[in-house]
Structures are given as C-alpha cells and as structure tokens.
C-alpha cells in the first residue's frame, strides 16, 4: 500500500464499510492446489529429464533429434514443458500479487500469463516438430 492521504472523500460510502462484512472470498485455494499438484508432477518428470540429459549431454544433432523423435520421449518432454510453465505461471502470479500494487498489478499479471504461455507453447511446438516433422 502506498503512503498517501486517504482518498475516501471521493466515494460516498466509507472504505471501511465497503470492506467490512464481505467475509471470505470463497476462492483462492485453487492457486495453492495448482502449485502443489504441478510441483508433485514435476518431481518424476524432472527426474526422468535429468537421466535423459546424462544420456544425451554433448551428443550431436542427429542423436538428439533421434531421441526427440521417439514418441515416449516427446510425450514426457511435452508434459515437462507444459507442467513447468504452468507451475511457473502460478508461482509468478503469487509473486506479482505480493509485491506489485496499484495500477501495475493487472499489466504485470497479464505479462506473466503471456510470457509463460508463449514460452510453454514454443516448447510444445518444438517438441511436436521433433516428434512429427521428420523428413524421410
């Protein structure tokens, strides 16, 4: 909250009156659940990815594309990318909620959604191209 003088002269109803008696928002737990479920899903997916990176690190283009062309690898990689950015979006939104106040909140949240969405989609499209778009 910014340290300005109270601006409640501009509204007929007092600000306390507006805030009081509304009770709980009846929503909000979904963010908490989204964070936990995606985090739990990321544990096995990340473990799989670490093992794959040990097998693949330093390999050349042909080997890596061959790896990405296998259906199971492509599926798990797509799941990892999607879950990662889903989890990142949920986490970054909470950070924006906590630290960005006033007029900047909405654009910051939109930016988080847009950024996570675009990078997630770029990852998914790349995985699909590796899996489906092979010549010959």
């Amino acid at each position: 909250m910014n340290a300005t003088a109270p601006s409640h002269h501009t509204v007929m109803r007092s600000q306390l009156g507006r805030a009081r008696g509304l009770g709980s928002g009846h929503s909000g737990t979904e963010y908490w659940i989204v964070e936990r479920v995606s985090a739990a899903s990321l544990l096995p997916l990340s473990g799989w990815f670490v093992i794959q990176m040990f097998r693949l690190g330093g390999a050349d283009y042909e080997d890596v594309t061959k790896w990405g062309g296998k259906p199971v690898n492509a599926t798990l990689l797509a799941a990892l990318v999607a879950t990662s950015f889903y989890h990142a979006e949920a986490g970054l939104q909470v950070i924006v909620d906590d630290y960005v106040h006033g007029k900047a909140t909405a654009p910051a949240k939109l930016l988080v959604r847009f950024g996570c969405g675009i990078f997630g989609l770029l990852g998914l499209v790349s995985v699909l191209k590796l899996a489906l778009g092979r010549k010959g």
Partner: protein, 158 residues
C-alpha cells in the same frame, strides 16, 4: 480506492481530522535468520529457474529449427559463460526443489515447530549445496567429455 485494505488504515486525530494510521514495522525490525533466507530464496530460485527454463525452451526451438541453429545453440552452451548459466540454472532448480519438498513436508503436518525448522534449515543448505553442485558438475562434465570424444571420432573419420 485502489486497495480495500486501505480502509483499515483510516483513522481520525483527536481534532477530528482524518489521517492514515501508521503501519506496524515489518521485516526491518527482525534480525535475518536462516529460515527467512530460505523462504525468500525459494521464491528467487523459482524465478531464476523459470528464466533458465525459458532459455531451455529456446534451446529446444533451435533443435527443432535445424542443424545450423543447433550448432549455434551448442556454441552458446559450450561457452564458459553459457556453462556458468547452465550451472546456475541447475543449482536453482535443485534449490527450489528442496524448498518445495520442505513445503510438502510442512503441508503434511510435520517438522513445522520452531525447533524443527531451525534444525532442518542447515540440513536443507547442506542438501542444496551437495546435490546441486554434484549434479551440475557431473552433468556439465559428462557433456563436455562426450562432446570432445565425438569431435575426436569425427576428426578420425574425416
């Protein structure tokens, strides 16, 4: 009105003039403790891990684009600065994972007393340092060795 919480800060002085009531002091009055550091570092490493994942997706896109783009991406990941970024990404991921696992334990209703929190903090630091540095070093070393080995084989073949 920008923030409904402002409503709770409206007070009046003895002469009747409306004022903004003072806020109680927050973080600045507390001594920095390990649990505070681990709490905020979980958020920071989450942001860093996201940035690293975005770069990872760029690598994936370069791979999907073709051999030329992949060669460019390999130049970046093979560069000392690129290796440092990869190292930082892996360590942040391990850090954020350890923090997340602690959250799972707390959510299940365990290890959430002051004494237990203070006991587990240094353990978390140890696990992060041990697993993070070992994993990052092992992955980067494996990749470097394999890349060099491949390059040697290619030279012999040509």
């Amino acid at each position: 009105m920008q923030d409904v919480r402002e409503a709770l800060y409206v007070g009046s002085r003895s002469d009747g003039k409306l004022i903004r009531r003072p806020m109680s002091p927050h973080l600045q009055v507390y001594k920095m403790r390990l649990s505070m550091f681990l709490s905020i570092s979980n958020r920071i490493t989450g942001v860093v891990a996201t940035a690293g994942s975005a770069l990872g997706v760029v690598w994936l896109a370069a791979l999907a684009r073709g051999p030329k783009s992949f060669a460019k991406a390999r130049k970046v990941t093979g560069n000392p600065l690129g290796q440092l970024v990869l190292f930082g990404w892996i360590v942040s991921l391990v850090w954020h994972t350890v923090g997340g696992l602690r959250h799972f334990i707390w959510d299940a209703g365990h290890r959430y007393d002051k004494k237990e929190l203070n006991e587990d903090g240094p353990v978390a630091i140890g696990v992060i340092a041990g697993v993070g540095v070992t994993l990052a070093t092992a992955l980067l070393a494996t990749s470097c060795c394999r890349a060099r080995h491949r390059a040697k084989l290619l030279k012999k073949a040509s």
